[in-house]
C-alpha cells in the first residue's frame, strides 16, 4: 500500500489542489493531510459602488469588474490568505474586542473549507481514493463538523482509522506554544489524550501515529529559538527543540511502525526512534509547493518498505 502524507497547508488553495491530485501523481492508494489546514491571514476586499479595493504585497489595487477582482482573490487564496469582501462601513466596525474579527475569520474559513471539500468530491472520485484529514493546533474547532460532514473525506482527529489492516491513530493537539493556539494541551494532558486514542489500536505492530506535534528533540522539531518578545535569537541561527515529550514517550513506548508529524515547518526530516520511522515532511505552503512523504507499506510484513520526501 502506498500513502501520501502532507501537512500544514495553512489555507493555501494551490497546496490543497495539489494534495487532491497527489494520489494520481504519486500513484498513492490513499492521501493523508496531517493538520493545520486553515490559514492565518484575512485580507479585506473593500467593496464600493462600481469598484473593489484590495492591498496585496504592499500594492493597492482598485479594479472595477468581477473578473478582475476574482483573479486577485484567487492569488490571495493561493498564498493561504482569505479574501473577505467587505464594505468600508463594515470594515470600520470590525474589532478584536467584540469578537467580530474572529467571527469573520471563522466564516471565511468554513466557507473555504466547504468549497475545498466540494473539490475533493470531484477529484477523489467520490471517496474511491481514501482521503484522511486531521486537525492541527492552529485549526479552530469549527472545522471539525464541516469535515465530518464530507462524504469523501474522513476526519480523523482523536480516532483510530482502519486502513486495510493498518491502524492510523490521529491527534491534532500539540504541547503548548507561545501563541496559545486552539488545540494545545500541557504535556501531561497530551499524554492522556494520546493514550486514549492509542488504546483503541488492536495491533500496535501495524500502527501508524498521525500526531501533529513532532517528538521532542529528534531533529523533526527544531524551530528558531525566540526571546521573550518572540524575536528569533541570534539572527535565527539558533535552533531549539520544541516538540512534544508526550509524543516522544508514546512512540518509544508503543513503537508503531510509522509516525507522521507536522507543526514545525522548517524541520523537514526523518528519524528512527527504535523500530519507528518518524517523518516530518515540513511545509513551504507560501511557495505554493506541497512538501510531503510518499511511503510504501508492506501489508504482509506490516512494515515500511520505502519512503521518500518530495517537493510537489
Amino acid at each position: 500500500m502506498k500513502i501520501f502524507f502532507a501537512t500544514d497547508i495553512h489555507g493555501s488553495e494551490v497546496c490543497w489542489k495539489k494534495f487532491l491530485n497527489s494520489a494520481a501523481f504519486y500513484k498513492a492508494d490513499m492521501v493523508i493531510l496531517g493538520g493545520d489546514v486553515t490559514g492565518k491571514i484575512m485580507v479585506p476586499v473593500i467593496v464600493r459602488p462600481g469598484s473593489f479595493e484590495v492591498t496585496l504585497s504592499g500594492e493597492t489595487h482598485v479594479v472595477e469588474t468581477e473578473e478582475e477582482i476574482r483573479n486577485i482573490e484567487q492569488k490571495i487564496r493561493n498564498r493561504g490568505y482569505y479574501p473577505t469582501r467587505i464594505t468600508p462601513d463594515e470594515l470600520g466596525e470590525l474589532n478584536e474586542e467584540d469578537g467580530s474579527i474572529d467571527r469573520r475569520f471563522t466564516t471565511e474559513m468554513v466557507s473555504t473549507l466547504d468549497r475545498w471539500l466540494d473539490m475533493a468530491d470531484a477529484k477523489l472520485r467520490g471517496g474511491e481514493i481514501p482521503c484522511i484529514v486531521n486537525g492541527g493546533n492552529d485549526d479552530t474547532f469549527e472545522i471539525d463538523g464541516v469535515i465530518e460532514a464530507s462524504p469523501c473525506v474522513t476526519f480523523a482527529e482523536g480516532k483510530v482509522v482502519n486502513l486495510d489492516g493498518f491502524y492510523l491513530a490521529s491527534m491534532g493537539y500539540t504541547n503548548p506554544t507561545p501563541w496559545d493556539t486552539f488545540r494545545e494541551a500541557p504535556e501531561v494532558d497530551l499524554a492522556k489524550r494520546i493514550e486514549e486514542v492509542v488504546g483503541q489500536i488492536p495491533d500496535m505492530e501495524r500502527a501508524i501515529f498521525n500526531f501533529h506535534a513532532p517528538p521532542f528533540d529528534t531533529g523533526l522539531d527544531d524551530a528558531p529559538a525566540l526571546d521573550a518578545s518572540l524575536r528569533p535569537m541570534h539572527g535565527g541561527a539558533v535552533m531549539k527543540a520544541v516538540g512534544s515529550t508526550a509524543v516522544r514517550e508514546a512512540i518509544l513506548t508503543h513503537q508503531p511502525m510509522l509516525s507522521v508529524h507536522g507543526h514545525i515547518h522548517e524541520s523537514r526530516g526523518i528519524k528512527k526512534l527504535g523500530r519507528t520511522l518518524a517523518i516530518n515532511p515540513g511545509s513551504v505552503y507560501t511557495d505554493g509547493v506541497l512538501q510531503g512523504a510518499v511511503i510504501d507499506l508492506n501489508e504482509k510484513k506490516g512494515k515500511v518498505t520505502r519512503h521518500i520526501l518530495v517537493n510537489g
Partner: protein
C-alpha cells in the same frame, strides 16, 4: 515561521491614504517578530573577515605588481553588492535553510542542486579547514610564541608537522563547535566580534598615533629582540629590490591592473551571504529591505575597515615596506622569518611583551568568532541530501546522548584531515588556496543564473515574492543583479583559469577541482541507480504536482 512585521509588508499593512486595516492576523503558530538586522550584520562582517581572510589575501598583492588594493577593494565592494541583491531575492522568494541546494534544486533541477551544493558547501570546505589552520598559525600561534620567546615551539609550528598539527587542532575545534550547537556559539560569536572590533580600534589608534619614523625604529628594535634580525626594515627593502619587486605608489588609480586583484579579493569579500538562509515564511517589502540591509551593511562594514586599514598602513608602515615585507616573505627571502602579520607589526609600536601578546590574542577573536561556522553549512547540506535519499539515511543520524551529528562530521573531518596532510607536507598544494574560492564561486554562479531565470521558471512564485516589487524604470532589479553577479563570477573564473598569478590554473589544481565535481556526480548517479533498484525514484523529489 511567519513574522508579524513582515506580514504587514507582505499583505499590505495600512492602505495608502487610509487608516483602514488591509489585513487581519489571527492567533496562530509561528507569528514572530522580525529578526535583528544587527545580528545579520555581525554574521556578514565576520564571514567577509577582514582579519583572517582579508589581510591574509592582501599579502599576495605582489603577485599583481601594478594593482592597487584600495581601488580593487572598492571595485569588489560595489560588484559584490549586486550579489547581495541577487541573494536577497532568493532568500525572500524561497526562504529555506539549505540555501543554494534548495534554490538550485527548486528553480533548476535536483541533480544540479546536489552537484553544486555538494562541491561548494561540502567538499571544498575540506580545503578551507587547512587554510583556516594556516591562518591560525600565522596570525596567532607563531607570533605569540615568538613574542614569548618560545622559539622551539614557534619554529615547530613552522615545520610540516607543526602545520599539520595546527590544521588538526582547527578541524577538531570546528567539529566540537558543530557538535555543541549554535546556541552557545552564537553568543560567543557576538562577543568575539565586539572584542575583535576593539582590537582593530586599538590598531587604528596605534597607527594614527605613531609616525612612520617611530614604526621604522620599532620594527628594527622588535625584530632584533624577537628574531635576532638586524635592521629588519632596511633589509626588507633591500631584499625586495633583489627579487626585482617594486611597489607602486599608494592611491586610487591603476584601474586596469587593480581589476586583476578582484579575483584575489573574492577570497574574503565574496561571503556576505554566508549566514542568511533562515527567514520567515510571510515575506514583504520590509523583509527584503531587512535581509538586504543585513548583508549589505556587513559587506560595506568590511570594505570600510579595509579602506581604513590600507590608509593607515600607508601612513605608518609605509606602503612600500608593507608590500615588500609580504613579497619577500612569499618569495622565501623575508628578513622577518614569519609572516609579517600587520597586527604584530602594529603591536611592536609598544615595546611591551604583555601588550603585544594581549593584542594578538584579542585580534584572534576574529578567528574564533568564525571558525565554528566552518562545518555548519556542510552538515546542513549533508542532512538535506540524506533526507532526499541521495545519501544513506545514516548520514543524517545524530547521536541520542550527545546530539552529535556523527556521520556528517566524519564525512567532513576525515577528508579535511586528509587534505590538511597534503596541504602541510606538499608545499605546492598551498598555492591552490584560491581553489577554495573558485569552487564556491561556481556554486554562486549557478544560483545567480537561477535568480535570473526565476521570473520565467517560477512565475507565480516570483510574482508573489517581495523581490519582484523592486524595480528601476520598470525593470526588476533582482534578476538584473543576478546578471551582474554572473558577470562578476564569469570574469573571476576567466582570470583564475587563464592567469597563473592566482595559482589556480596549474595542472594539479585543475585535477583537484575536477575530482571534486566528478565525485559529486558519481555520488548522485550512484544514489540514483541504487535507489532505483530499491524502488525509489529520486527524480520524483522535485517534480511538481499539477494544480488543476
Amino acid at each position: 515561521m511567519a513574522t508579524v512585521e513582515e506580514a504587514a509588508g507582505a499583505v499590505g499593512g495600512k492602505a495608502a491614504g487610509s487608516e483602514a486595516p488591509t489585513l487581519f492576523l489571527r492567533k496562530a503558530t509561528g507569528l514572530v517578530r522580525g529578526w535583528s538586522v544587527r545580528d545579520a550584520i555581525v554574521y556578514a562582517c565576520l564571514s567577509t573577515n577582514i582579519i583572517t581572510l582579508g589581510i591574509y589575501e592582501f599579502s599576495f598583492n605582489s603577485f599583481i605588481p601594478k594593482g592597487q588594493l584600495l581601488t580593487a577593494v572598492l571595485i569588489s565592494g560595489v560588484w559584490v553588492s549586486f550579489l547581495v541583491i541577487a541573494y536577497t531575492g532568493l532568500v525572500v522568494t524561497i526562504p529555506r535553510a539549505g540555501g543554494d541546494y534548495v534554490w538550485q534544486s527548486r528553480i533548476l533541477a535536483g541533480p544540479i542542486g546536489f552537484v553544486f551544493a555538494a562541491t561548494g558547501w561540502w567538499f571544498i570546505l575540506w580545503l578551507w579547514a587547512p587554510i583556516y589552520g594556516s591562518v591560525l598559525n600565522v596570525e596567532l600561534i607563531q607570533p605569540v610564541l615568538y613574542t614569548l620567546n618560545a622559539r622551539g615551539a614557534a619554529s615547530y609550528f613552522g615545520t610540516h608537522n607543526g602545520t599539520f598539527t595546527i590544521c588538526l587542532i582547527t578541524i577538531a575545534l570546528a567539529g566540537v563547535l558543530v557538535s555543541v550547537g549554535m546556541n552557545g556559539y552564537a553568543r560567543i560569536q557576538k562577543w568575539c566580534f565586539a572584542g575583535g572590533m576593539v582590537g582593530f580600534l586599538v590598531i587604528v589608534v596605534l597607527l594614527l598615533a605613531y609616525s612612520h619614523g617611530s614604526f621604522v625604529s620599532s620594527v628594527n628594535a622588535e625584530a632584533h629582540k624577537i628574531f635576532g634580525v638586524s635592521n629588519a626594515y632596511g633589509t626588507t627593502q633591500a631584499s625586495a629590490a633583489k627579487i626585482g619587486y617594486s611597489t607602486p605608489g599608494f592611491g586610487l588609480n591603476s584601474f586596469g591592473a587593480s581589476m586583476l586583484l578582484v579575483p584575489m579579493l573574492m577570497f574574503y569579500l565574496l561571503w556576505p551571504n554566508w549566514g542568511t538562509t533562515l527567514y520567515g515564511e510571510v515575506r514583504g517589502a520590509s523583509d527584503f529591505k531587512r535581509v538586504f540591509t543585513g548583508m549589505f551593511s556587513g559587506l560595506w562594514l568590511t570594505v570600510i575597515l579595509s579602506v581604513v586599514f590600507l590608509l593607515l598602513v600607508d601612513k605608518t608602515f609605509g606602503w612600500s615596506f608593507y608590500n615588500n615585507a609580504n613579497a619577500t616573505f612569499w618569495a622565501g627571502k623575508g628578513s622577518i622569518p614569519i609572516w609579517p602579520y600587520p597586527a604584530m607589526l602594529a603591536a611592536w609600536l609598544v615595546h611591551n611583551e604583555a601588550f603585544q601578546v594581549i593584542l594578538l590574542l584579542v585580534m584572534s577573536l576574529w578567528f574564533f568568532g568564525w571558525v565554528g561556522s566552518l562545518f555548519l553549512s556542510s552538515t546542513r547540506v549533508i542532512f538535506a541530501a540524506a533526507f532526499d535519499r541521495v545519501l544513506p539515511d545514516s548520514a543524517a543520524t545524530v547521536s541520542e546522548k550527545r546530539k552529535v551529528p556523527m556521520a556528517s562530521l566524519v564525512l567532513m573531518l576525515l577528508p579535511a584531515a586528509g587534505l590538511s596532510a597534503v596541504y602541510a607536507y606538499w608545499i605546492k598544494f598551498q598555492t591552490y588556496t584560491l581553489d577554495a574560492t573558485l569552487v564556491i564561486a561556481v556554486t554562486y554562479l549557478v544560483s545567480a543564473f537561477a535568480v535570473v531565470i526565476l521570473p520565467w521558471r517560477k512565475p507565480e512564485l516570483w510574482k508573489a515574492s517581495a523581490a519582484s516589487k523592486f524595480k528601476i524604470f520598470g525593470v526588476p532589479i533582482v534578476p538584473v543583479s543576478g546578471l551582474v553577479t554572473m558577470g562578476l563570477i564569469i570574469y573571476n573564473l576567466y582570470e583564475w583559469l587563464s592567469n597563473s598569478a592566482y595559482g589556480v590554473n596549474n595542472h594539479g589544481s585543475l585535477v583537484f577541482m575536477a575530482l571534486l565535481y566528478a565525485l559529486a556526480i558519481v555520488v548522485y548517479v550512484a544514489a540514483r541507480l541504487i535507489r532505483k533498484r530499491q524502488g525509489i525514484d529520486l527524480g520524483l523529489i522535485n517534480k511538481e504536482i499539477p494544480v488543476e
